[in-house]
Each structure stands twice: as structure tokens, then as C-alpha cells.
């Protein structure tokens, strides 16, 4: 975890650093604000790695884990990168079969509203791209984050995000062809 934090550039946001400090000190409302800020980021990271239907539940798992491990956070300014690392690790666990729950079927309780089949088809194509590109594309075009926001929330440098975004989009365009005329 420390190696990851040392390898990425961190642009400290003093307001967020103070928020994280309060959360580490035990403030549940501060942690709630962090959840509001990062839920989309974590969902995007999950969506790049696990089936769509399971991503929402895994977002919960990630924040639960983060809540339990907050005291391990060494650098409050790197909260986003730390949380993203937990999410990626959780996705690996998911594929190793360490899923905590057999999926609850939704015959009585629909879990989410229907989504267009074409959206899922494009998502499947994005998931065939290299990992760095797919995560950035999903954060930008699914979760609606800008390039600077992606950099700030994941701990990547803006230059890295820019490369991932434009190269990823170029590859996506080649795979989609005329389907979406992008």
C-alpha cells in the first residue's frame, strides 16, 4: 500500500485532507461526506473489473473495509489513491471466489432500474481494453467525471489520465467502428 502511495502524484486538497483527518479521528459524518465524494469513483473502478450487476454491492464492501481500516491510512492527502487500491483489491478477491454472499435473486425486490442493452454492450467492449484505459474511460463516460477530477480522486497524475483517456478512446473508436460514430 505504501509503495502505491509513493508511486503516484498527490495533489493535496486541504479541505479534503481535513475531512479525512476528522474521519480517521472517528467522525462518522466526515466519513459520510467522503462516501458522497468517492462513491462514483469506486463504482467506476468496480465497473471496470466486475459484472455490472455486482458493482453496486461491492461499492458497499469497499467503504465498509475502508471504514474498518481508516487507522492504517498513513497519508491523509492520499485518501483517494488508498481507497482506489482497496477497491482494486476487492475486485481481485471477487474473482478469486471470495464473494461474501450468494447473490440474492431479485424476484421480489428489483435491485436497479433497467439499463439499455446497447450501454451494456459498449461497456463489454470497454472491458476488453487495457486495464488503465478502461478504468479512465468508465470514470469519464459512465460516472461523468472530468479528467482533472479523475486525477484528483484516484491519485494518478493528470498527464497519465490524459494519456489513458485519449488512447483508450481511440482504441474504443476502432472497436466500435461506425456503431456509435465516435
Amino acid at each position: 500500500m505504501n509503495a502505491i502511495m509513493n508511486a503516484v502524484a498527490v495533489t493535496p486538497d486541504s479541505d479534503e485532507t481535513a475531512l479525512v483527518a476528522r474521519a480517521v479521528a472517528g467522525s462518522r459524518s466526515a466519513f459520510g461526506e467522503l462516501y458522497n465524494k468517492y462513491a462514483h469513483t469506486i463504482h467506476g473502478i468496480m465497473l471496470a473489473r466486475v459484472p455490472f450487476r455486482d458493482a453496486n454491492d461491492l461499492v458497499q464492501d469497499v467503504f465498509l473495509c475502508a471504514m474498518e481500516r481508516l487507522r492504517e491510512l498513513r497519508n491523509e492527502a492520499a485518501f483517494g489513491a488508498w481507497l482506489a487500491a482497496i477497491a482494486r483489491s476487492r475486485a481481485i478477491d471477487y474473482h478469486r471466489g471470495k464473494r461474501r454472499w450468494a447473490p440474492l435473486t431479485n424476484a421480489v425486490e428489483p435491485a436497479c432500474k433497467p439499463v439499455p442493452a446497447q450501454a451494456l454492450a459498449v461497456l463489454d467492449i470497454i472491458k476488453t481494453l487495457p486495464e488503465a484505459y478502461r478504468e479512465t474511460l468508465i470514470l469519464r463516460f459512465v460516472e461523468g467525471m472530468t479528467g482533472p477530477e479523475i486525477a484528483a480522486r484516484t491519485g494518478l497524475t493528470p498527464d497519465s489520465v490524459r494519456v489513458n483517456l485519449f488512447r483508450g478512446l481511440k482504441l474504443l473508436r476502432e472497436k466500435l467502428g461506425d456503431e456509435l460514430a465516435i
Binding site: 472517528g26 462518522r28 459524518s29 466519513f31 459520510g32 462516501y35 462513491a39 462514483h40 469506486i42 463504482h43 467506476g44 465497473l47 455490472f52 458493482a55 453496486n56 461499492v59 458497499q60 467503504f63 465498509l64 471504514m67 474498518e68 461474501r100 454472499w101 450468494a102 447473490p103 440474492l104 435473486t105 421480489v108 425486490e109 436497479c112 432500474k113 439499463v115 439499455p116 446497447q118 450501454a119 451494456l120 459498449v122 461497456l123 468508465i138 469519464r140 463516460f141 459512465v142 460516472e143 461523468g144 472530468t146 479528467g147 482533472p148 490524459r162 483517456l165 485519449f166 478512446l169 456509435l180 460514430a181 465516435i182
Partner: protein, 281 residues
């Protein structure tokens, strides 16, 4: 492509990228519009209630659950769909519409609107809802209440044991079903799903033979099972019919027919072919 728009939405919109974003935004994270996390409540409850560990997590994803939590003499607490409970003291989940579930210490479960997910531990359920209204998911199978009272245990590996006191429970996983009546029990494993149910009053030899058969399901293991079966073990043999084929199924049927009078009009061939009207009779 307008690079600025793609980067940070400044400048002229890029039409194609805008189209892509419009399509893919339908997949974005969407908590309930009513969602809020009662953080202070989480901290307060975690501090004063032994039942729920500090890692417990309430989500108002789809509103309140039908279940309320009772611990000792404390007032009933509402629960929210998606909430995870780590139980360290005896607790009861109560629903006026569904029934009552005693949760044993050491259990971990997730609450849905009417269903429960038991990851590990033990519950004892008394259900008054109509059949099939109450479902408990475990890592190895789904228990569907058919109007009953039962105990369900799940170990750390996710394997389970269901013991029915009154009524019936259907145990389902991956297309495999076991129907467990009052006085019977059934094991389930993550690997194989629901096993063969048997009556708790079955002879030790029969129970041992069932256990050995479940381990490897070989023809030689079937022989002691059939030899040890008595007329009261028809439940197990009935389930075996659909889990065997060819000569094994024939052997199961022949033993079954020796022990249990067949209903009128049920032919051997129909049973061996698993024709529904013969099997269900």
C-alpha cells in the same frame, strides 16, 4: 474530436463523445434518491449495543426492511435494506407480516426488504407468512419457506445444515432442489448444493450411509444406503430417484417400492423416466 470537451467539458462539445456519455451514463452509480447514511446513529448504536459490530452498515438503498431488531429488553430498532449485522449476543428479527427469526451469537447476516442472507452462524425461524414469501440465502443454497419453523446453520466454509421442526422448507441451488419436511434435516455444500434430506429419527447406519454416499456418489456407496433404508426413509429414496440414472435409479426405485406402497396408477417405467405425474404422486 474536441479534445478540451473530452478532457474537462470546456469548449465546444464533441458530438460523438457526448453521445457516448449520454448512453453510458445510464450505468452510473445510482444510490436511492432517499439514500442517506445515518452515520451518527451507526456510531451510537455500535457503542451501546453488543449485537452489532462497529463495522455494521446501514443503507437506505430501497427503504426500510420489513424486519425489526430486538435485543434483550431494548426497544425494537428499524432495519434498512442492505444492512449487515454482526451478531455477538442473542437477537431476534421480527416482522408482523413474515415471522420471527432468532439469530444466534456469532452470526453474520444481511437484511433485505423481506429476505435475509445468512453468511455464517445460525438462525431459528418461525414463519407465518404464506409459503414462498420468506427466503434465506446462504453461500451454498437458498432456503424457501413453505410454511414452517426451522433452524438453519451455516459454517465458516459456507456449508449449511437445515433442520425443520414444523411444515416444509424447499432448499434450492443451481437447479437442484430438496424438500425437507418436519422432523427432517438436509445438508448443503457450496460445491454441490442441497444434499439428500433424511429424517432425524433415521437409524445411525442409514445416516452414516447417506453421508458416505454424499461424499463420492459412487455405485458401491449406494449399496449400503439402500440396505440400511427402512420404510421411514422413503423421503431420502424419493430424492435419490432424480439424482441417479440408469441401473442405479432402477435399484433405488426397486428398494423404494419394497418399503413404501406405491400410489395406485403409478407405473415403474413412468417413475424411472421421472415423469412428473408419477414422481409427484
Amino acid at each position: 474530436m474536441s479534445d478540451n470537451w473530452i478532457w474537462d467539458r470546456s469548449g465546444e462539445p464533441d458530438a460523438a463523445a457526448e453521445r457516448l456519455e449520454r448512453l453510458l451514463s445510464t450505468l452510473a452509480y445510482q444510490p436511492s434518491p432517499r439514500a442517506h447514511i445515518p452515520w451518527k446513529k451507526i456510531a451510537a448504536v455500535a457503542a451501546c449495543v453488543a449485537v452489532i459490530a462497529c463495522g455494521a452498515w446501514w443503507w437506505r438503498m430501497h427503504g426500510r426492511s420489513e424486519w425489526k431488531l430486538l435485543v434483550g429488553a431494548s426497544p425494537a430498532r428499524s432495519l434498512y435494506t442492505g444492512q449487515v449485522l454482526h451478531v455477538s449476543a442473542p437477537a431476534v428479527l421480527h416482522s408482523d407480516e413474515i415471522g420471527e427469526v432468532e439469530v444466534r451469537p456469532g452470526s453474520e447476516l444481511r437484511v433485505r426488504q423481506t429476505r435475509l442472507g445468512l453468511l455464517r452462524g445460525s438462525i431459528h425461524a418461525t414463519i407465518w407468512a404464506p409459503p414462498r414469501q420468506f427466503v434465506v440465502e446462504t453461500p451454498a443454497a437458498r432456503a424457501v419457506d413453505l410454511g414452517c419453523q426451522y433452524t438453519l446453520l451455516v459454517d465458516a466454509n459456507g456449508d449449511g445444515l437445515l433442520q425443520v421442526e414444523t411444515g416444509w422448507v424447499a432448499f434450492e441451488h443451481g437447479g437442484r432442489e430438496s424438500f425437507i419436511p418436519a422432523g427432517a434435516e438436509c445438508r448443503t455444500s457450496k460445491q454441490n448444493g442441497p444434499g439428500l434430506p433424511y429424517f432425524q429419527a433415521a437409524s445411525p447406519d442409514f445416516r452414516k450411509a447417506v453421508e458416505q454416499y454424499e461424499r463420492n456418489r459412487s455405485a458401491p456407496a449406494l449399496v449400503p444406503l439402500l440396505e440400511a433404508a427402512r420404510s421411514s426413509d422413503g423421503l431420502t429414496l424419493w430424492h435419490l430417484l432424480s439424482r441417479t440414472n440408469g441401473t442405479r435409479r432402477a435399484a433405488v426405485f426397486d428398494r423404494f417400492a419394497q418399503l413404501v406402497p406405491l400410489p395406485a396408477g403409478v407405473a415403474r417405467d413412468d417413475v424411472l423416466r421421472l415423469r412428473p405425474q408419477a414422481i409427484d404422486a
